[in-house]
């Protein structure tokens, strides 16, 4: 009788400790989430929670090596890229590859900066700089990358980098009137 009672009480104590640890962890995580996400209203908490969970899932996929880009968004981006809607294209590419780990998508993003910034008379240096930044990511992900898209005339990061760097320089060649007949690559 005595031992029976003592055993039951000890179990309860153990359960209280487990419950305490679980509650502290869950509530503590909620508090940390609130301070990290900084929602401005109660309604915003759920949307912030959703994006945080999605972000965590993507990060988890990267860690476990199961990360894949969103094919639908990628195709949308490609479609927008081909009709010269570069802002929409980049938006779709960014959504398709939120972790910026897909070399092909990142190459298209860099290329979109080149095509958007290219001008027959002068280039947009700010966009070209952003293109170079994106291109660095491509080189980091795969130094030997070569695009299989036949519509692109610059198929490697080296070619695209050269075009972007040359486009930002001011040389005597820039004043050559024949430049007006050159084509965008």
């Amino acid at each position: 009788m005595l031992y029976g009672n003592a055993q039951i009480i000890a179990m309860k104590e153990k359960y209280i400790h487990i419950l305490s640890l679980a509650m502290t962890f869950v509530y503590g995580a909620f508090v940390v989430f609130l301070y990290a996400a900084e929602p401005r209203s109660i309604e915003e908490i759920s949307s912030k929670a959703k994006s945080t969970v999605e972000n965590a899932v993507t990060k988890g996929q990267v860690v476990t090596g199961t990360y894949e880009i969103d094919r639908q968004k990628y195709n949308e981006g490609l479609q927008a890229f081909r009709i010269d809607n570069f802002i929409a294209a980049r938006d779709s590419f960014d959504r398709a590859d939120p972790e910026k780990r897909d070399v092909k998508t990142q190459f298209y993003i860099a290329y979109s900066y080149y095509r958007q910034g290219w001008g027959r008379v002068s280039n947009d240096d700010a966009l070209f700089k952003q293109g170079l930044t994106s291109l660095e990511r491509v080189t980091m992900l795969d130094p030997n990358f070569r695009s299989d898209d036949t519509n692109l005339q610059l198929r490697t990061p080296a070619e695209l980098r050269n075009e972007l760097e040359e486009g930002m320089k001011v040389t005597a060649d820039d004043f050559n009137p024949l430049r007006l007949v050159r084509e965008r690559k």
Partner: protein, 251 residues
Amino acid sequence: MDSEVKDYLDVTDDLLPADEREDLAVNKVADVALRKRSAAPNQIAFVRYLALPFIFLTVALLGGLRLSGLDSSFVFLKPPLLCLIFAAILLVMFFRARLIDLEGWFSESFSLLKNLANGAVLLTLFAATTQLFNSLLPEKGLPFWIVAFCFFWTLWNNLFADFDTKKLLRSLGALFGLAFVVKYLVLANLAAPEGRTWFERLTENPGQEAMTWLLDLPRFSAGTGYIQFFAAALFLIGLYLLPASTNDYEA
């Protein structure tokens, strides 16, 4: 049959031998004692391991919460590094004043689970203390540095003074109360309200506008003071419920 009945009736002594009777009595007393004690420890455990972390985490949640003066939307302010330092000093004071007896919270004789649960409770206490300082310190500008210096001066002096638990709690109550009055009554009333143009504010209440600009006062909604009052009160309730030791009962 008659003779058997007669035998029982003739019994004048006890039915059980004396040593066996004593064993039963001891068992009964222990059983009753265990039953009497079993309800209280469970309640104590519920308070210590569920209510206390809940209270302290609620303080941690509310301590950095402000309501915007413009549309009363939430503004979550992360604690500055100074708050963590103050919280650490305060915890050391708790240990020195025996408000928390370290051996009573962590021991080799406890199970791993109990040590972990105790650690979690103390962690929530640290988080709550940090956020309480975050709540009571002005957000920026000159008031932040003045109040922070006052806090530091008081805590540093108290760190080397001999305190008993009651004196420490009284001293903390006074310290936090004064800081609350300074921030949420004095400074809050010096800040000009949000939602008006610069010209309107200057013409309607030039004094408030000047103080807001000079002291770099943030413009929060009046609801912020109520939330922080609740947080400070909750923290003091949590401290009152916090036991010095967790080995004062046996499960």
